[in-house]
C-alpha cells in the first residue's frame, strides 16, 4: 500500500530531486496549460504541498493520525505577522520564528498527546487543536486580535526596519531584502521553501530514522522489544511535521499578511489529512500531488455559480438541464466542502492507496512486464548491492 523506505542509490535520489526542482520552477509554464498559471493558485499548491509533506512524515511514516495540525499552521501565521509588526517586514526572521515557535508548540502538544496511541492520540490532538482555536478566539485576543484577525498596521514598531531606516510604502507586504513578495516573487519564495521541504523529506525517507518510523508503524511492540524507545522517535516526527505546518502557516501570512483563527479549525486539519491520503499516504510525491489536486479543483469548483451551471447544461433539453442543475448545485460554489467530504469518503472507501497507488496500478495494467516488476519491495533493489 505504501512506498517502502529504500536504501536507494545516490544518483537516483539526485535525479528525483532535480526533476522535482525542474517541475516546481516551471510551474508557471505548465500551470497555464491547465488554467492554473497565476501566482495566487501556484502559491497555494506550494504552501499546502509543504503542509502535506510535513503531515505525511508523521501520519504516513508512523501511522499516528493527528487531527490537530491546523493549530501549528495557525501558530506559524500569528508568529509571522507578529514578526512583521514588531521586527521587520523581512521574511527571513518571520519564517525562522514561525518554524521555531510552531516547533515548540508541537513539542508540548506532542509530548502530551503521545502519552497515548491509536484513537486516543487522534482524539487528544483534535482536542488540543480545538482548545487552541477557542483560546485564539477568546482570551488570547490581545495576541490574535480575535475574530477580526491579526494584521500588519502602518504604525507598528518594526524595530529592525526603523533602525535601518526602512519605511513602509503602500500596503504592508512581505519583503526579502528589497524584493516585495507579491505575484511571482511570492510564488518563487514559496517554491524555494517547498523544494527545501521536499529535500528534507527525501532525506528522511532515505534515512535510518525514517526506516525506524515506518518500523514503528509496522509493529510498535516489536520495536520496543528490539530495544527502541518509540516515544522520542514519534515526538521527533511530530515536532518536525509541526514545523512544516508552521512554515506553511508562515508562508500564508507572508503572501497575505493576515492571520485569523479560522486557520486553526478542525476542518483545516481534516483538509491536510485528505490531501495526504488522496495523493498517497506514506509516499514521497503523494502529499504534494494531493494538495495540488485539491487546491486546483477547489479553485474551479468554488468559482462555479448557478449561471455557469445553467450554461453548462444548456445543451440538454430544458427539463433534463433543470434536473442536472438541481443535482450539481449543492456541490459547487459555497458547496465545495460538500464535494470535499464526499471525495474524502470515496477515497477512503475505494482507494485507500491514493492517486500514486492508482497510477501504479494503471502502469502495471498497461506497462506489461517491466512495470509489473516495480513493486515497492523490488524497487529497493537499487543501491544496496
Amino acid at each position: 500500500m505504501h512506498q517502502i523506505i529504500t536504501p536507494s542509490s545516490r544518483g537516483k535520489d539526485l535525479s528525483i530531486l532535480l526533476i522535482f526542482i525542474a517541475v516546481v520552477l516551471t510551474a508557471p509554464l505548465w500551470g497555464s496549460l491547465i488554467g492554473a498559471g497565476y501566482p495566487d493558485l501556484l502559491q497555494k499548491f506550494a504552501i499546502f504541498g509543504l503542509f502535506a509533506i510535513g503531515y505525511n512524515l508523521l501520519f504516513g511514516l508512523t501511522g499516528y493520525l493527528s487531527f490537530g495540525h491546523a493549530a501549528f499552521l495557525g501558530v506559524g501565521s500569528y508568529v509571522t505577522v507578529w514578526s512583521f509588526k514588531l521586527l521587520s517586514m523581512n521574511v527571513i526572521p518571520a519564517v525562522m520564528f514561525a518554524v521555531v515557535f510552531s516547533g515548540i508548540f508541537a513539542l508540548v502538544i506532542g509530548f502530551l498527546s503521545l502519552r497515548r496511541s491509536g484513537i486516543y492520540f487522534s482524539i487528544l490532538t483534535l482536542a488540543f487543536a480545538q482548545m487552541s482555536y477557542n483560546l485564539a478566539y477568546s482570551v488570547l485576543t490581545p495576541i490574535t486580535n480575535g475574530e477580526t484577525g491579526l494584521r500588519v498596521l502602518r504604525d507598528d514598531p518594526r524595530v529592525i526596519d526603523n533602525a535601518l531606516g526602512v519605511t513602509l510604502e503602500g500596503s504592508p507586504l512581505g519583503d526579502l531584502f528589497g524584493i516585495t513578495l507579491t505575484g511571482y516573487a511570492g510564488f518563487y519564495f514559496c517554491a524555494a521553501m517547498l523544494i527545501l521541504g521536499f529535500w528534507l523529506s527525501l532525506k528522511i525517507f532515505r534515512s535510518p530514522f525514517g526506516m525506524k518510523l515506518v518500523a514503528i508503524k509496522s509493529n510498535q511492540t516489536r520495536m520496543e522489544y528490539t530495544g527502541f524507545n518509540p516515544r522520542p522517535y514519534l515526538l521527533s516526527a511530530f515536532v518536525i511535521s509541526g514545523m512544516y505546518a508552521g512554515l506553511a502557516g508562515s508562508l500564508m501570512a507572508i503572501t497575505d499578511p493576515l492571520a485569523g483563527a479560522e486557520r486553526m479549525q478542525w476542518t483545516a486539519s481534516g483538509e491536510v489529512v485528505l490531501m495526504t491520503i488522496l495523493g498517497g499516504l506514506g509516499t514521497l510525491f503523494g502529499p504534494i500531488l494531493g494538495a495540488a489536486t485539491i487546491k486546483y479543483f477547489e479553485n474551479i469548483f468554488s468559482a462555479i455559480n448557478l449561471q455557469v451551471l445553467e450554461n453548462t447544461f444548456a445543451f440538454m433539453p430544458e427539463w433534463l438541464g433543470g434536473i442536472m442543475v438541481t443535482i450539481t448545485r449543492p456541490f459547487v460554489g459555497e458547496g465545495w466542502h460538500l464535494t470535499l467530504g464526499v471525495l474524502f469518503m470515496l477515497i477512503i472507501i475505494f482507494m485507500p492507496g491514493g492517486l500514486i497507488e492508482g497510477f501504479r496500478r494503471l502502469s502495471r495494467l498497461f506497462g506489461g512486464k517491466k512495470a509489473a516488476s516495480e513493486t515497492p519491495a523490488a524497487e529497493s533493489e537499487g543501491g544496496v548491492k
Binding site: 505504501h2 517502502i4 523506505i5 529504500t6 536504501p7 536507494s8 542509490s9 545516490r10 535520489d13 528534507l200 532525506k203 528522511i204 532515505r206 534515512s207 535510518p208 530514522f209 525514517g210 526506516m211 525506524k212 515506518v214 518500523a215 508503524k217 509496522s218 509493529n219 511492540t221 516489536r222 520495536m223 520496543e224 522489544y225 528490539t226 530495544g227 527502541f228 524507545n229 522520542p232 522517535y233 521527533s236 518536525i240 515497492p376 519491495a377 523490488a378 529497493s380 533493489e381 543501491g383 544496496v384
Partner: protein
C-alpha cells in the same frame, strides 16, 4: 554445585503471578547458567510463556525478583531497557516488521544495538550505513535467506518469518536469547533446519532459554531442562534425568499433549 552468582546469566527467585484468581506462576526459582541452553517444557497452560513474559517486561510479577546482569528486571524496567541490557526474544507468533524488507527487518535491531534506544539522524542516508548493511547481509546469507532479502517481509511463510525473527535477535548478539516455541507450526524439514541453525548458534556460546513442545527439539538442543506444570517447577535436571523422572511422566500423561 558451584552456585557462585557469576555463573548465572539470569536468576529468577520466588516469582509469583496471578491472573484474577488463577495462580499462573507460583514460587518459581530458576537459574540460567552462562553459555547453556536451558529448555522449559510442560503441558499447555503450565505458565511457560508467562514466565518468559515476566523476563522481558511484558508482565510484572506479583512478587519475587528476576536478576539479570546485576539488575532486577521486575523493578519498573521498560521493555526497551531490558533489551538494551542484553535480552532478546523470539515470540510464539512471529513479531516482525511486515511492511519493511527482509534486510531492513534485520538492520533495525542492529541499529538498536549500535545506537541505543534513541538516536536522531534524519540526514544520514541508509546506504551510508555500510557496516550495518554488511552485517545484516552476511547474517542473512548465513541463514540461507540472503536471496530475495529486498522483498517485503510480510509475504514470507510462517516458518520463514520465524527464522527472520531469529535473525533479528541474533544480530544483536544478546547475552540471553529467549525462544518461545521456535519450531511450532513448522513442517518437519523446516524444524530440522531450525534445529541445525540453533545447534550452530549453540557453539557460539550464547545463553538461551527455550520453550518447546517438540521433545525431539528439546532433547537434541538442551543442556538442562526444567519442567513446569500448573505454574510450578516440578522437576529440573539434565535431559537424561528428566527423561526418566516419574513426576514428569505423570504431568505429561495427565495432559493430552506430549
Amino acid at each position: 554445585m558451584s552456585n557462585g552468582d557469576n555463573d548465572f546469566v539470569l536468576s529468577i527467585r520466588g516469582v509469583n503471578k496471578t491472573f484474577g484468581g488463577l495462580q499462573a506462576l507460583s514460587d518459581i526459582n530458576l537459574n540460567i547458567e552462562k553459555g547453556k541452553v536451558h529448555a522449559i517444557i510442560g503441558p499447555n497452560g503450565a505458565g511457560k510463556s508467562t514466565l518468559l513474559n515476566t523476563c522481558i517486561g511484558l508482565l510484572t510479577p506479583d512478587s519475587g525478583s528476576i536478576t539479570f546482569g546485576g539488575k532486577d528486571l521486575t523493578k519498573s524496567m521498560t521493555p526497551h531497557a531490558i533489551n538494551q541490557a542484553g535480552i532478546s526474544r523470539v515470540f510464539q507468533t512471529p513479531q516482525i516488521f511486515p511492511e519493511l524488507s527482509i534486510l531492513q527487518n534485520v538492520m533495525i535491531p542492529a541499529f538498536a544495538k549500535r545506537d541505543g534506544a534513541f538516536s536522531f539522524n534524519p540526514l544520514k542516508a541508509l546506504r551510508e550505513e555500510e557496516g550495518i548493511l554488511n552485517e545484516a547481509t552476511t547474517l542473512l546469507d548465513d541463514l540461507g535467506m540472503g536471496e530475495g532479502a529486498h522483498h517485503h517481509a510480510g509475504n514470507l511463510s510462517r516458518g520463514n518469518k520465524r527464522r527472520l525473527e531469529l535473525a533479528m535477535c541474533l544480530i544483536q548478539h544478546p547475552k540471553l536469547l529467549l525462544l518461545d516455541e521456535p519450531t511450532a507450526g513448522m513442517a518437519r524439514h523446516d524444524t530440522n533446519r531450525t534445529i541445525e541453525l540453533l545447534k550452530k548458534i549453540k557453539e557460539s556460546g550464547m545463553t538461551k532459554v527455550i520453550i518447546e513442545h517438540d521433545m525431539h527439539v528439546v532433547f537434541s538442543l538442551a543442556d538442562r531442562i526444567s519442567v513446569l506444570a500448573q505454574g510450578a517447577i516440578i522437576a529440573e535436571g539434565t535431559p537424561d534425568e528428566i527423561k526418566g523422572h516419574p513426576k514428569v511422566r505423570e504431568a505429561y500423561l495427565g495432559s493430552a499433549e506430549i
